[in-house]
Symmetry: C2
Subunit: 365 residues, 2 copies
Amino acid sequence: MKAEEFPDKYKVAVIGSGNWGSVAAKLIASNTLNYNIFHDEVRMWVFDETLPSGEKLSNVINQTNINVKYLPGIELGRNVIADPDLHTTVRDANMLVFVTPHQFVDGVCKRLAGKLRGDVEAISLIKGMEVKVDGPHMISSVISKQLGVNCCVLMGANIADEIAEEKFSEATLGYSENKEVAERWARLFATPYFAVTAIQDVEGVELCGTLKNVVAIAAGFVDGLDMGSNSKAAIMRIGLNEMRAFSKRLFPSVREDTFFESCGVADLIATCFGGRNRKVAEAFAIHGGKRPFKELEAEMLQGQKLQGVSTAKEVYEVLESNRWFDSFPLFRTIHEICIGSIPPSAIVHYKAEVHPSSLQQKSVS
Amino acid sequence: MKAEEFPDKYKVAVIGSGNWGSVAAKLIASNTLNYNIFHDEVRMWVFDETLPSGEKLSNVINQTNINVKYLPGIELGRNVIADPDLHTTVRDANMLVFVTPHQFVDGVCKRLAGKLRGDVEAISLIKGMEVKVDGPHMISSVISKQLGVNCCVLMGANIADEIAEEKFSEATLGYSENKEVAERWARLFATPYFAVTAIQDVEGVELCGTLKNVVAIAAGFVDGLDMGSNSKAAIMRIGLNEMRAFSKRLFPSVREDTFFESCGVADLIATCFGGRNRKVAEAFAIHGGKRPFKELEAEMLQGQKLQGVSTAKEVYEVLESNRWFDSFPLFRTIHEICIGSIPPSAIVHYKAEVHPSSLQQKSVS
């Protein structure tokens, strides 16, 4: 059935088909079949590529129902249609799920501007920021401004492959005003193994999802240097507190409770123990910072992108332009390690609250 | 030199000589040598035992300067004196560090009552609660009440063996009123690799240190069942939130910020990834709950005690007597798994915020 036959049903398009995009399409596809308010078909935009077999990825997905490159072995649902054409993907849709690498968002939005249905709602699953001359822009606000649409976000402790295997996970949906729209998005994503909580703090949720990748780089350094559980926990704690402070400086509306949601402490934990940022940063530290991240990324991630290093750079630019270095020593240090200015071992700053130098010392005999 | 020759110097006794007690003695001993305000000698009470060699543990510690049973390979400092006699250990001391297993605190305090110096201050490094007819009692308040002394607490992401190896760690010192006393304790413990932050929330700090062991049991179940990073992060997040809610119900004075200190989120992380509670709970889950904790503890811990299981029972008793089960589903579930009422797999409750049953379902063809 075509969307125009059921004009009152919500029609979903997923823009992006990487690892997380494919898992999102799988979650969504099970719900559009289950709930009458949604049109069954989920159209997924594939930035097409030719596989070693000579076939187009989009064709293989439509033939096998599996994204053989980015989510091998997992059926997406027969109602997921891979589409290499961005415009036909979104033409009938009024629920747009953005899940591209964050450096592609600008270009995609430019191509979509003025070509969408009038009743479109958007949600971003993308981690990252854009830092421009006038300051940092969250991805959701880039989408929102360029397309003139409302944009929610979905973040959380969501290692994609585990959700694909239907292991229990939680996620946080951030919205700005319209609770009804947020609940519709939650309905589209939530399954018995994927628990979605909606909270009214779109900036807080998105900043958590974005900044945790920076902390995960630090966690990877600690792992690579074999500093132990206490050091790793300390660095993650300091990182969480810099995430809180940074978020509140950018957006005073950010809520403290947000950091206790899945997008906050839980995503930080999952990413610092199980994610790709941690893994590549560990390798970087093991090699003593001698092999650049670009090289390790290409070698270790099979085409997936590393968000933490570029976000660390963006955060550094914000700190620099606002003269905030003193308040964010960990964020500053992470970027300086990433670009090779200081060694990975600099990640642990010994900052005892009691400074021995201020006390009378014994002359030890 | 004897303490009475320098009556103005603080004299420290460490009550307990297990793994953490020995590391604490090592930290303290380096500082009593360094700072003039402390008497050099650190007397450590050893609940004596005969080693396989036939020698007394206390004698071996004094001969080798190493606690060969509970902290092998690490020199404690020549100014640490192992003493099998509780009364001579504390006789000259006015700074008492309590670091026994929590089930021994009552008995130790009974033996000490009325036999201490008039200017004694205490600090507890012990995790656990005592649940009596009139409600729960924190260890610091048991010490405080039985001995009529002020009692601070020191908690944090402190896997003992890593601190023994001088890997970087943080800790939180909780105090109730006297900041000057708290700073003196911080001075006694802090080293360049052990950063101590003092905060005015003794109950919050102690409850963090106590309750995190319960959450670590849950984390161990998730590991044993191979549920993945997302599930583990979700369970830890839910656990942290139950810790916050439970602490605030018991003591409304507990501060939200405390959970962002080392004693809170950092200790939770370290304990859920590196500690003994996690390890034994993992084995329990791997065996499908068929082998009781007592048996696994004896087999896996070489005489160390498992706090999480007994604390889970104590928490359960508090929930039961206050009819708080509905607000603490995770804490309740953990204890019920520990005693074998329900299987380890019950640790993951699928609690999607959006309940499919409340929506109109499609009849799937």
